[in-house]
């Protein structure tokens, strides 16, 4: 064998060996174990920043630089003095750095964005209907609430802002538990203490007339990947501007003892010109999920409503009580 060929062959063998030593726990019935608690916090941007417009992956050094920059930015915000009137950079919506738990590292995918489709790592354009619908809900969020229904599902504790489906790293509570039997897999999210019980035999799906806040999920194994399809959302569920006819496909692949690849694709041609796909790798954790009893401690809702009534009584119209993104 010529030396270059022998060297190439050696490289290929080593590459195969690298893959082979990855250890994937298996269930007794022959499927990879997905069971455990998983941390999906990541500082990998959801959409690709302009600075990386032509770059899909980062080098290890670039990852290190990015993580350091994020940490530095947070530290700077944490030291900003709150003047009680205008400067809320660290206190917007009542959270300061102490309460945020957004992760400190990029996903091990080492990508410049969680979105991998469209290829530019950016959300596809909305359709006219998508823009109109989003405008309606944005206006609703910007006005003084007439009742609790005016506020979004996150403020009402009906859904969690990062609990999906699909799950996506957010300000805090980026944890989920997977419990796996041969017939079902449960996804329990820490955020708003919610769960989906997903059959592994593919169905049957609910009739179109039955709509659920989290949609109707059913799953099946494609080789060693558990694929979950979710439909039948309500018109209020709205993940990133989607509508009730969104079709969500989630793919869970155990990579090794410590990580789980989580990929999802949203298809909603009523609201978006194209589908969009995200992928991150979740990290196994020994930490327990806390019971995040959101509704039980929802002091924000009565305070928002009573504040709105007080402003009405006093003839005041302003939006200073709103978080920055609702103004």
């Amino acid at each position: 064998m010529h030396k270059p060929i022998r060297f190439l062959t050696s490289l290929l063998l080593v590459a195969a060996a690298h893959n082979a030593v990855a250890q994937v726990p298996m269930k007794p019935w022959g499927k990879p174990s997905l069971q455990g608690n998983w941390d999906f916090a990541t500082i990998t941007p959801f959409q690709r920043p302009a600075a990386f417009s032509e770059q899909e992956f980062l080098s290890p050094d670039e990852v290190e630089e990015y993580e350091a920059a994020v940490q530095a930015g947070r530290a700077a915000r944490a030291t900003v003095e709150f003047d009680g009137e205008h400067d809320q950079s660290d206190l917007d919506v009542g959270y300061n750095t102490f309460y945020l738990d957004q992760g400190t590292s990029m996903s091990t995918t080492m990508r410049t964005s969680q979105l991998i489709y469209p290829e530019n790592g950016r959300m596809p354009d909305m359709t006219n209907r998508g823009r109109e619908t989003s405008g309606y809900f944005r206006a609703l969020q910007s006005r003084s609430p007439q009742g609790p229904e005016d506020r979004n599902l996150y403020d009402r504790c009906i859904l969690g802002f990062n609990a999906g489906p699909p799950m996506r790293s957010g300000a805090y509570n980026n944890m989920m538990k997977l419990v796996q039997t041969e017939d079902y897999i449960v996804i329990q999210t820490e955020m708003v203490n919610d769960h989906r019980v997903i059959p592994t035999d593919g169905g049957p799906a609910l009739p179109n007339s039955m709509r659920l806040w989290k949609g109707d999920s059913w799953g099946e194994w494609e080789g060693d990947t558990f694929v979950v399809t979710t439909t039948n959302f309500t018109h209020l569920s709205r993940f990133s501007g989607t509508g009730e006819n969104m079709v969500l496909t989630e793919r869970f692949t155990r990579v090794n003892e410590d990580s789980l690849e989580y990929q999802w694709t949203v298809e909603d041609t009523e609201m978006f010109d194209d589908k969009f796909t995200s992928v991150v790798e979740l990290t196994a954790t020994d930490a327990d999920l806390f019971e995040y009893a959101c509704h039980e401690a929802n002091y924000a809702m009565p305070l928002m409503l009573s504040g709105a009534r007080k402003q009405e009584a006093q003839g005041i119209e302003d939006d200073t009580w709103l978080p920055s993104w609702s103004r």
Partner: protein, 294 residues
């Protein structure tokens, strides 16, 4: 799938992979081609236990009142007629009545008199254990070696019963408490501690203190029935421990499944009606008119 059994090849492969990684460009998100199999074998003890997996439901009126009660008019009968009455039911308390301390019984009567405003479950707060078990909706048990997970349709609540961490305790109280399970002669026994003081046993004002300890027992009577018992111990409120007992029925429909009962949206009128724009009723928490309570 490959099973790796030799240490030396593993070491060589590891060293080789280190070399390869050091020469690699930025890693890609490449699926693992041939993972090593590490089978999570069921322990013999767990594997020999009854399988509680399935969808179950209590069929009684204990969520209204765990003690015996006759049918009763409810605040909503003026709106939805006969559907709004409280159904009668026999007691699920062994012995019939809860052994309250005298002062605690008086507190129960106060609760009962204003239950619509005070009942935490009416506000869609997590009902806690044991009440979550007999709320009028199915629940699903998923049984694994390390934990038994129960998903409840009512409120989309859930709990983990840890089977592999005896002697541990919760870091802080929670609405559903901290559940540690064990098997004894085919019965699942669950110790539930660290529950919030805010939960009730029913809508009749039966309550507990922060000293509550619940010992649940799940015993399969046959394929489709579980005998459920909850031993309630709370010396601050009760003169002695007492027991709730009821059957749980398997939902045997072919298409049985959990749906959603996100009760928050149905509690918002009770909680927030008086804060709605244009509200002109009394300022009672439940939005009721003064005449309703006359």
């Amino acid at each position: 799938m490959k099973k790796i059994t030799l240490a030396k090849p593993l070491l060589l492969l590891f060293l080789g992979s280190l070399f390869l990684l050091s020469c690699s460009p930025a890693p890609q998100s490449t699926p693992v081609a041939e993972p090593v199999v590490i089978t999570e074998s069921a322990t013999s003890a767990a594997a020999s236990q009854p399988d509680l997996s399935g969808i179950w439901q209590a069929v009684n009126t204990a969520h209204w009142n765990v003690e015996g009660h006759t049918a009763k008019k409810m605040p909503v009968t003026g709106v939805i007629g006969a559907y709004g009455g409280m159904l009668a039911g026999t007691s699920v308390v062994v012995g019939g009545e809860i052994p309250y301390r005298a002062d605690a019984l008086a507190a129960r009567e106060v609760n009962q008199a204003d239950w619509a405003n005070l009942d935490p479950a009416a506000k869609c707060y997590v009902p806690g254990i044991p009440r979550q078990t007999y709320m009028p909706a199915p629940f699903q048990i998923l049984q694994t070696d390390s934990e038994i997970f129960i998903a409840y349709e009512w409120g989309s609540n859930s709990r983990s019963i840890f089977m592999d961490r005896p002697g541990t305790s919760a870091p802080l109280p929670s609405w559903m408490g901290y559940s540690l399970g064990r098997w004894e002669r085919g019965t699942l026994i669950v110790d539930v501690t660290s529950q919030m003081t805010d939960t009730w046993f029913d809508a009749a004002g039966n309550y507990h203190s922060g000293s509550l300890h619940v010992e649940e027992r799940y015993r399969m009577i046959d394929e489709n029935h579980i005998e459920y018992q909850a031993l309630i111990t709370d010396p601050e409120v009760f003169t002695e421990p007492w027991t709730i007992r009821m059957p749980l029925y398997r939902r045997i429909e072919e298409d049985a499944r959990l749906l959603e009962y996100k009760c928050i949206e149905y509690a918002e009128d009770l909680l927030y009606d008086h804060l709605r724009q244009g509200y002109d009723g009394s300022k009672a928490l439940d939005g009721s008119e003064p005449d309703d309570n006359a």
